[in-house]
Symmetry: D2
Subunit: 458 residues, 4 copies
């Protein structure tokens, strides 16, 4: 199922300018323990959540299967994530499984105010709004963690800000945490550093590196979104276009597959000979960027590196060519080098700039070099459901694990749980798994219920 969102209210700029911190709001239950833009938007937000639920049937089925057992009874979770309809479905699942939750946003721009209102109205203490200041951001985190009569025992984090705030400001509270679930590359990196330094006193689950997340988020999301991001911004025709994709990891593989399928001629640049050899076998010419810079119509960076496209190369691109980034940060294209007096920037659409050279040449820069698919297209709710389900399972696992199963370290999701997440999502496709016979399981040396692959399998 594929429900679309109600978007009417998103263009509503009539909200008053008062900071939410200065307002007094009461939800329909009479509570004031939250801080959102406008509690009156709750009904609209509720509709958004209901729509998201339709595409997150795996998470909903987990909710239904487990809600009589209440595996999170007693869990007091503080969360710091993007606050969207999809995370709302996750949060309400945690509540249905017995948890109490306080929540804040991991990004000052990404909160859907209506969703935050709906959550607050249903009793989750949310502290978040779109357009927080830096100061607001940390104030909101603090409100989540530190309130009278609240002793959190689980953390769900995306980026590690909440974790580190608690670690530094409230070390005694932090020590009593039973588990941390972290989703982002950055947050995981910070946890491993803490662990190496011997300062991680709590078991943590790295859900970023679970197979379902890695193989689905990167490959398939990019395959789905690269065409969409380019079309919505530039209306470019794909047929016959010459495109160079910098980097042939999972993201690059997804981009290349989609572009080739729609008739583009795709070149690949790579630093890693193994990925380069894969690109060759997959039918892409592997070149250095300088070899094709004058002829290509589109450059897409997917390397995770910096200065992959330099000012010198931008100078040599042809009139009307497009440059954009699908990699993990805005460093891949040297955008800073374009902010010089001899070049004119012309904003032609939201997220679309023409950079104009003195001779009239125009290069089209998308999203100022930030992530194209987050900025200019959408990410399928189905894929977000995979991540959310993984987070829920990781919280349940850490919360219920017998003493000693997890030490003060960072863990990967057990393979079997990864497989369970996948199996919950198969119903969307009406896919039917084959079951091993006893005889076959014995022959393969496997348990009939999995795990079916070794932990290192990717």
């Amino acid at each position: 199922m594929t429900f679309v969102s109600l978007t009417a209210s998103y263009t509503d700029s009539s909200d008053d300018e008062t900071s939410p911190r200065e307002k007094t709001q009461v939800n329909s239950r009479g509570s004031t323990d939250f801080c959102v833009k406008n509690i009156k938007q709750a009904e609209f937000g509720r509709r958004e959540i209901e729509i998201a639920e339709q595409d997150m049937s795996a998470l909903i089925s987990l909710r239904k299967r487990a809600q009589s057992e209440k595996p999170l009874a007693g869990a007091k979770i503080v969360g710091c994530t993007h606050i969207t309809a999809q995370t709302a479905v996750l949060i309400e699942t945690l509540v249905a499984l017995g948890a109490q939750c306080r929540w804040t946003a991991c990004n000052i721009y990404s909160t859907q105010n209506e969703v935050a209102a709906a959550l607050s109205d249903s009793g989750v203490a949310v502290f978040a709004w779109k357009g927080e200041s830096e100061d607001d951001f940390w104030w909101c985190i603090d409100q989540c963690v530190n309130t009278e009569g609240w002793q959190p025992n689980m953390i769900l984090d995306d980026g590690g800000d909440l974790t580190h705030w608690m670690y530094k400001k409230y070390p005694n509270v932090f020590k009593k945490i039973r588990g941390i679930v972290e989703e982002s590359v950055t947050g995981v990196h910070r946890l491993y550093q803490l662990s190496k330094a011997g300062k991680l006193c709590v078991p943590a689950m790295n859900v970023n590196d679970s197979v379902t997340k890695q193989k689905f988020d990167n490959l398939y999301c990019c395959r789905e979104s690269i065409l969409d991001g380019l079309k919505r911004t530039t209306d470019v025709m794909f047929g016959g276009k010459q495109v160079v994709v910098c980097g042939y990891g999972e993201v690059g593989k997804g981009c290349c597959a989609a572009l080739k399928a729609l008739g583009a001629i795709v070149y690949v640049t790579e630093i890693d000979p193994i990925c380069a050899l894969q690109a060759c076998m997959d039918g892409f010419r592997v070149v250095k960027l300088n070899e094709v810079i004058r002829q290509v119509d589109v450059i897409i960076t997917c390397t995770g590196n910096k200065n992959v496209v330099t000012r010198d190369q931008l100078d040599r691109m042809k009139n009307g060519s497009i440059v954009c980034n699908m990699g993990h940060s805005n460093t891949e294209i040297d955008v800073a080098s374009l902010r010089t007096t001899e070049l004119t920037w012309e904003r032609v659409r939201s997220q679309v700039d023409h950079i104009i050279w003195p001779d009239g040449k125009r290069v089209i820069l998308l999203a100022e070099g930030r992530l194209l698919n987050l900025s200019c297209s959408t990410v399928p709710t189905f894929v977000l459901s995979i991540t959310a389900t993984t987070q829920a399972l990781a919280l349940i696992e850490l919360y219920n694990a017998p003493e000693g199963r997890y030490k003060q370290d960072v863990y990967l999701l057990p393979k079997k749980m990864d497989e369970y997440v996948a199996s919950l999502h198969l119903t969307t496709f009406d896919a039917h798994l084959t079951e091993l016979t006893d005889d076959q399981a014995k022959y393969l040396g496997l348990n009939k219920n999995g795990p079916f692959k070794p932990n290192y399998y990717r």
Copy 2:
């Protein structure tokens, strides 16, 4: 090259409500012989035209090659087409080649007001604005045809309304026309009827059935736009979706190819055994709609037929499924049958309705069953360039043809000109044609400069 439009002004709803017919406007040359929404938007429109020129390099190169010869010197062209940046490039090409032009719109909604202003400002007498009334529509046509001191001798039409207005209202003017160039299926159909009835007293060129138009417009435009139209409206994930495409003509072939390439599982329905056999060989299961109606996630109609999806079938679609039309009119899905009291319509986005059954089931209807790609996505300027170049060449041919080459009949574009249009567009791709040697040309019995295929070749 792929330039994107400036779109800022399109959301400008602050225009006054006065009818253009009641305004007095003067352009920068002091002329009042035009009628557009607001002549002050000319500068913005000029920018739009410049952007379109970038993607229409074939037409611009034709303009450059021929402007010293002025092959249209003395031509007085009345035109009735969509008025967009792309048609503006065509009109200004005709002017550069020596023609005088008066222009009006073939559709009451499709005029880009800024472009109409820019054309008017540069001296083309344009009578058109977005949101004309039926009465305005015919008034504008009349203004084009009938003004003092103006005796048109060529017609460029899209739909046949201008042609028929002149035929009926100004038969004496009509008789003196040297040629009609008609682009649309409908307009061509009307010309053939006139011809059969022995009433066509003017040679006409059917550019709708030129190979470049047929094979490129339908197949490639649909391949480009089906994914875009679905994503912009519903954010649907393609991977693993079950889709049924009704009709496997050029449009259906384009849709199927794109969807399969992005990981959808595609079924085809067909009435014609030859197209059905092609679908089989191309790897699609050919089914009756009823066989898959309960399982598919998306239905796309591309038949040119009516009631291809009936109310009965809509009743059996599953919750969350999408239904839309890529065919030629809004009759393919029986939308009227959905406008009943027991069903609730919920407009969730522009062009997106949820139809809600009493049991809560939702079916997502796009563009109310009208053409998805015209309503919800864009069509590549490059493809429009092919059509515009064909129109320009057809006008030149008819205007300059020696007496007797064309009778009072409807003609297809000569193969050689079709090939010439294609050749002008190859430079966009930096494609290099091979030339026949004298020896090879002799062996094949061909002229070295073409035509290379028989007229019936498709």
Copy 3:
């Protein structure tokens, strides 16, 4: 269904060397009215025919539907085609429908001796064997036409040799023929010439240009056979190979699609700008051969032209590269230019030669430049079934047509029969056609049973 042939006997070279013309053979019915290599091979040939029947279910179903009506009762057909298991199925269908047949081969090498034996044994007078001399060839044709008590009234020809022999040698017999069905490009060409010259006194059906033949034989057969032909001869790996395909007609399109799908990087050369533009939109770089000659691993010609690959270009190909032809004759590669003293030819496998330059460079030439797929791979029986069914229908139509429907001219197969052939083949794929409702048929202006497309539709 996909049955494979019994091939054991094909390697049987122990046959005696006596010319069949000098042998006296008697079939199991006591008849001597035939001339084949060895009537004792009949049983083996029968098995081959049975296997072919499995993949020609459309023709068999036509046989079953019509055999009670005997629409060919009284028909006396002389045939001149390749004599293979597939043609045997056709011939035996004609017999089942009431015809008497005498048959000969259109090619001195292509007869399957066992099949010829089986046909002769079952009562068809076959005059053909593998390895006929030029003299044998015409003797066999003559035996078919000219025998006591036999007045043929229908011709099924492939190449026009039988037709022209009869036209010249037996003009009085020829005049009484009710219809000719011709399959090949060459034969059709000769018929049109005869018609132009006013000398064709018999109606003829051109089945070569039927849609099912054109669109299926060329595109799909080549898509199926190009990979097979290359693998069987060279074991080449496709992934990452740089290939240039000369010509982007139906044959070139089939080759390009298959090679791209398996990971090759494909370039196209074209003389026709329309086909070139299609290649661009399909994602292939259009180049001149000289631009890529030094870098490509494989050259495939599909032009119908001559000297498409010249000696000069062969000189510049890289060591280990492959050159082959999928076009219609062996003129595309200038093979003659390679037969010079400074080059060494080394036959490394059947149909595979290494041409060795003085510096040791080797170029691999397949099938000495003749058609790769006929020489080195197989053609699907299913596609042959389409042609055979078309031939059978064309014979029935011409034989039963009311006086005056067909004049002394060359006709294309009526669209409706083309569609009927396609529909008979849909069952192989378990494909289900949709039927028009009365209302829809009226709306479209079509008969519910077709034809569904105009005659010029391709």
Copy 4:
């Protein structure tokens, strides 16, 4: 480059029947220290080796780069592998790098006698021929290991038979081995068992699990060979065929991609939900075999499991359908269950059997359920080059590693060497790697020369 083999001699069955063990043969250097079928075939075998060298340019370039250093000087290698032209290139590379080698075959059928002769003639002591008896097999291994004045210090094994023979028969020799390189799944498994049992007294390198081998051998080899294997045996047409692929690991992924690309409709069966979800996203319906058993035209097993296709299912397959195995052994299809009296087996071609049910239904079984691509198609030399290069590097690494780097354990190839193997193979594709700048290397925390990915990266 893609050279094809000379195959003339392979059909040479005129060899005498004398066992090589009973012959006395002398090579051109006067040595008798070898045992092959016929030393006179050396010249022919040499030509084969030269042809293989053309497609193994990576290994040859390694040979050239390192032959002045002689990194294997003093190495005494005993090898037990398939003896083919490709392994000969490996062996002669080892010799060029300074090693002395004695070699035997790991399979009683797979030796190319001419290649064994050529190696023996050039001074490698080879003990192998096609068609050894079980007793011969162990005798040959023994000849390699145990001869006067020979103390091997390195092992290159494929399957572990040589290793285990030495381990058991010559424990004192075994202890002095400096390293074992093992290629096969089975051999690696046996090494891990030895290691677990504490009995592995020698460091061993598992080259089977190197990335280049895993990702290239399985995915790309199967993509290349599945179509070839099916065509060579059955001439099946792919367009529109319904195929079920059992298992969606790397092998299954390769098969599915190739078949879908050529127009087949592909279903997948899976036991593992993660692979099943990938199949869904890639556009394949995931089903249980029983759901489609009656409708599919082809079944391909790729599971590594047993009894994936049971007799009960074979009973329900339709007439003319094909069943074959691409997995790792001949257990996947229950072939034994077909050897019953009520079924008739008809051998129609080499490797192709028709199994005939009492009602006349035929199922086509390929290679009696053994590996289709090894039995009925070829494997690209290029891919074999990847493995051979990896083996050579592993031998060099183990032989030259400083004391203590490798313990008595089984090691994976260091990532950096895996990347080096890949980089050597890029020249075949004229692929150009991008080099990191100092600044970028620092930003990524990588060495400019790699390794570029963590060890666990797949």
